[in-house]
Symmetry: C2
Amino acid sequence: MRTVRLLRVTKVDNALEIIWRSFRPLAAEEVGLDIAGGRYLAEEIVAPEDVPAFDRSTVDGYAVRAAETFGAQESLPALLEKVGKVRMGEEAIPIKTGQCCYVPTGGMLPDGADAVVMIEQTTEVDGLAHIYKQVAPGENIIKRGEDIRRQQTVLRKGQKLRGPEIGLLGALGITGVKVVRRPVVGLLSTGDEVAPVDTPVLAPGWIRDANGVALAYLVTQTGARVVRGGIIPDRYKDLYVGVQSLLEKVDMVVLSGGSSVGERDFIPRVLKELSGGDLLIEGIAIQPGKPTILAKCGEKPILGLPGHPVSALTIFALFGCALIKRLSGAGDREWQPTVRAQLTKNIPSRPGRVDLVRTALQGREGKVLATPVFGRSGLLHTLAEADGVICIEAERDGLSAGEEVEVYLWV
Amino acid sequence: MRTVRLLRVTKVDNALEIIWRSFRPLAAEEVGLDIAGGRYLAEEIVAPEDVPAFDRSTVDGYAVRAAETFGAQESLPALLEKVGKVRMGEEAIPIKTGQCCYVPTGGMLPDGADAVVMIEQTTEVDGLAHIYKQVAPGENIIKRGEDIRRQQTVLRKGQKLRGPEIGLLGALGITGVKVVRRPVVGLLSTGDEVAPVDTPVLAPGWIRDANGVALAYLVTQTGARVVRGGIIPDRYKDLYVGVQSLLEKVDMVVLSGGSSVGERDFIPRVLKELSGGDLLIEGIAIQPGKPTILAKCGEKPILGLPGHPVSALTIFALFGCALIKRLSGAGDREWQPTVRAQLTKNIPSRPGRVDLVRTALQGREGKVLATPVFGRSGLLHTLAEADGVICIEAERDGLSAGEEVEVYLWV
């Protein structure tokens, strides 16, 4: 038989480890709080002040000295002189022994008070508050600095700025933060038969660049920006020049197509030369998507995806996203949420490689059912029929109907 | 005791049902494929052509008549005259009896051929291909229209355009689609004590508008656009005019603050008057976040969030996102992925209401551990310490340490 160079195949976990080890987060930049959401901090945040900056009531009620309510009950209320109302955003007048002061939720606690009685547990008659329930010192108030204390480290380097973190920064008056720069990802489609998606009528033997548009969306979903490098014919020189010039403008290049062991396969050669030597990955023990390659050129990753659309999108969702997250400054372990479901059919799987199985979900009688969508990796419609994928670990030789599985959703 | 108007409290499931029933997806608009990702289709997509438009090889190899390989084996190869090479993007020359033709992965199958033998199972000597393995008709090819057949309905109205769907549209040459318009969400913060986040030094009794910046991020994460309406003092007329004028510019208004039953609480009154009558929701059986209100003004929702930051963000993530998804055209049941984890502590819960419990995740020895983050809903740092929330159903009176729980992640 013909001698064909065999791919050096990397295990999935090793591939993710190689990604983590070989690349570093991009440089930091200062951005406004309004666009910092979803980004990763490149600095530690130390609180410049206390939050809240004053003792606050957490209810509508009467600010009191707690000791003066001790023993109060429905049949024997404590009686306190009401000396005024705290207005929101205004300093409260102090209270003395035997006095109380109305304070709304969020209002400032008057000097002299150490607790608040909820309005529902009081009545007011002729300037006298009847308190029907005792309160403990500190009850119904948030103390100055109880949420965030001045000089406290509130956010760590590398932390993702989600809603709560954006809120914290806003509460502290921090309107600009240093975050890792958003990666710019260059996309190149390769193949002599690939036409732009806006080609109205295809010549015989041609297909449209479906991978290009789908990958562009997936890249933006991961928080990166896209530069479309267009379509490059399968010629060594065109590829070399195309990848090289795109690489100058971006932080990472993703090639779609042309990574199988074929006669006209120049991509591994181009990537080897551009990276000045070895490829980091020249194949992954995964199905679909084995002919995936990864090179490092300077500090920049070049990811060569398999050409079949199912393989290209699935592999990108796994390894492309991992690369973008690494460059974006994400931690080494982000939680991956899944939908739990019960498998409706057996799925065979060959041990020794990870199988990514397209899966449709269906709710029935309070249960979630997962049905594999079988079909070759050239068939894009099988992905569109799937809600997500099941990942069968390399050690398993398949899954059985009735088993509980975890489904990673498509976005 | 003082008579306080009691809130009419809606159950969580009913609240989601009310959202679904009371509002409709926004109007459709035509957008380019490059910005259609994540949007919901407002039309059915019928394939204008076959994909692929020709029989294609899925491997590098020789296009043959399958029958002429029957019986071929290592010791007795079938011998076929190689009459040429198919080039990518070019029409193949037909083959006749006794002939074969080299075809690369993705190349067009020549007329006369009905299968492809993988290159690994052949050798070539002096223009003669030695075929060592028989193939069945159809083997290693994708037939014309096998992925998508012309006139077939490929995508349904209401379907989300994820990566695979964008790819399908691209493959079909459909570069513009009708999708539901992205909602524009107006944000208003209320309260006399609330200062913009860029206020360098707070006056006594003031706090910064942390909710405003955090909610703005959460809105954009849900795919909507934000219009910041600023901060409005707690006065009936200011509120009325503020909400009314913002409502003219947006599809939905979200108010943060001022929905508890307090003396200065004008929001329910304003929303009642603007909606011309009843509120859809004037309280939800959930903790934190009970004083949540929802009104409908014309076709537009107005959501009044509780003022405490933990309540505001948690309630927005649940009901605010549900409203945005409804307006965006999402289906009634999108799968909600979670992280499964083992609870490390008991969590008490009062039956009759849903409890949303802030929870931190931790990996240990291959297991994921979930630890509740307790703390009052005025304390934003408790949210920042949490990876997500556990939802304790209304029927449960708590969860026990060791139980398996599902954690909804913060984004």
